[in-house]
Symmetry: C2
Subunit: 363 residues, 2 copies
Amino acid sequence: MRKIFLNLKNVKYPIYIGKEIFDRFPQICKRHGIKSHLAVITDKIVADLYLDEFLRLMTKNGFYPEPIIVNAGESSKSLSVVSKIYTNLIEMKLRRDESVVAFGGGVIGDLAGFISATYLRGVNLIHIPTTLLAQIDSSIGGKVGINHKLGKNLIGAFYHPVFIFTDVAFLKTLPKRELICGLGEVVKYGVIMDKEIFKTVEAELEKILNFDLKIIEPLVFKSIQIKTSIVEKDEREKKLRMILNFGHTIGHGIEAGLNYKRLKHGEAVMFGIVGESFIAFERGILKKDDFEKIKKLVFKVGVNFPKKILAKDVVLKHIGYDKKIYSERLNMYLPVKIGKMKFFNDVGFGEIERAIEFLFDQN
Amino acid sequence: MRKIFLNLKNVKYPIYIGKEIFDRFPQICKRHGIKSHLAVITDKIVADLYLDEFLRLMTKNGFYPEPIIVNAGESSKSLSVVSKIYTNLIEMKLRRDESVVAFGGGVIGDLAGFISATYLRGVNLIHIPTTLLAQIDSSIGGKVGINHKLGKNLIGAFYHPVFIFTDVAFLKTLPKRELICGLGEVVKYGVIMDKEIFKTVEAELEKILNFDLKIIEPLVFKSIQIKTSIVEKDEREKKLRMILNFGHTIGHGIEAGLNYKRLKHGEAVMFGIVGESFIAFERGILKKDDFEKIKKLVFKVGVNFPKKILAKDVVLKHIGYDKKIYSERLNMYLPVKIGKMKFFNDVGFGEIERAIEFLFDQN
């Protein structure tokens, strides 16, 4: 088991990372002074797989965990689910000095994080991320929140956990599609910061897609290092943190253009990575060789670009929001080579349009 | 116009205080870099009295304020009202770098504060408290929140404004009952920290109850000084901040015992002040003379203790919650003289019971 600290201006906490370390979780709780009574928020899928084990483990070690189980999926990130969970917590008399464990993927982390930030003006939060995406991305950085019927993640807060507990063994039961979503973020980290990560994914793609944890664990560790280093340098999504949005401008347009169906976030981001790399390539700042590598790797992962069910102008609309922006210039980090980004404040809408056209022109 | 800074570990901001200073508000906004587009959350009563003036003033100075008006009263501190306001803010496209003005009393401050803390993970908040209670107490210290059907203020956050703008001229239109509620807190500040405040209220009670702003303004100023000094020393409701709960243990029991009807919070707290002073008197740590002064002042304000509609055991139940606590000892600050408190960790339930009986014995 290794440890990475997230060291922010007002708060510092560890991320514990390892393979098959679940049985050490109760001791770590004790080390952090976590009180015995705690709520564990999870979804039906994770509950079926791991909740019994979690409860047995915790109870055996003197804890008194009470589970709250929500439906799996984005629909649980709603104010009505939040409202029900508040009721559960009040009924179980969870106190201000007790804790909420977020046990699941990104949805659970966001939801339970928002609950922890707002129940009794804030209770202790512990993340146990169980998906690749949650382990290397969404659990780190303090963003918590829920959706509004008019848009995603519009309601939320910045709220940090006491610690994050990341056991890659949970990934064994992950559906392949979820693995691929996380892999999109790994590729992103490679392109923006670390060409070694990129090379590893290139070389070991087959093993990764076969859930080889010996390959995946160091990738998770390095990815967490990258995410924490960026969050530390720029806690509140200012300029530097925008580097993490690589692939997300176009990715978000694709995702929203499909009404958040068919493609998952991580899958859409992968196409966004190709699209935004295309902008860099077209500008002449990214060499053809590097651009081809990125494109090849993304398409090799095996997700098909949903050209038949997606309309170009809808994607554009979702990126541009309204017509005014067409003449505006966007702020964006673009790759100048694999592992290195540069900030630009003059990305035109026409460039984005051509990048999307490029995606539509692939096989 | 005077200024008091609230100087916390991670944040520092000014409270502007004066009489008839409303027309200086736009300039202060500009000084703090507030963007022109902003939402102002207020209630129907404040809107009727002051919203036109606010909008005219702001518009004249180049701002673009959009009002959101809720019903007056505690019922607006609900998740359903919060949900509607989120929709309003999204529809007016309020951005992360824009602001929410909380224009009203404690309910509006709590509600708009919670909204500001959670909309887009936090937008700028400006408090314009319009009641005495909000000016000297609830707007200061960062506590924001809403109610749950199972209890008050169970949902919330710590979230600080960019600045607080306190014009005592708003108090001219305050209903007398609301003035008395605020006065309860002023008396509390006197007992816990500043015998001069206590003496002023004793000497000038009639003028205060006649809304004499020349007397009220310095009381507001001193009260804010006391509240800020305590919050600064103990931001997160640890031991010292408990001093502010003086009168609230018993006061809350009375309030809850009436199901939050009939008596307002500030009125209940006044009886709580007498009750908790009685405990100190009975212990022999508070002299009879000081205790009598406190009792006399509170009863002179003219609120009747609702003995006919209140049941002793219901009050006790609301303080004790369940039987377990009867044998427990409570932490409580008690007055040792007017202007000075001492911390005790051994207040027994029997003492509280006798204090409540004492209140019931007053005519």
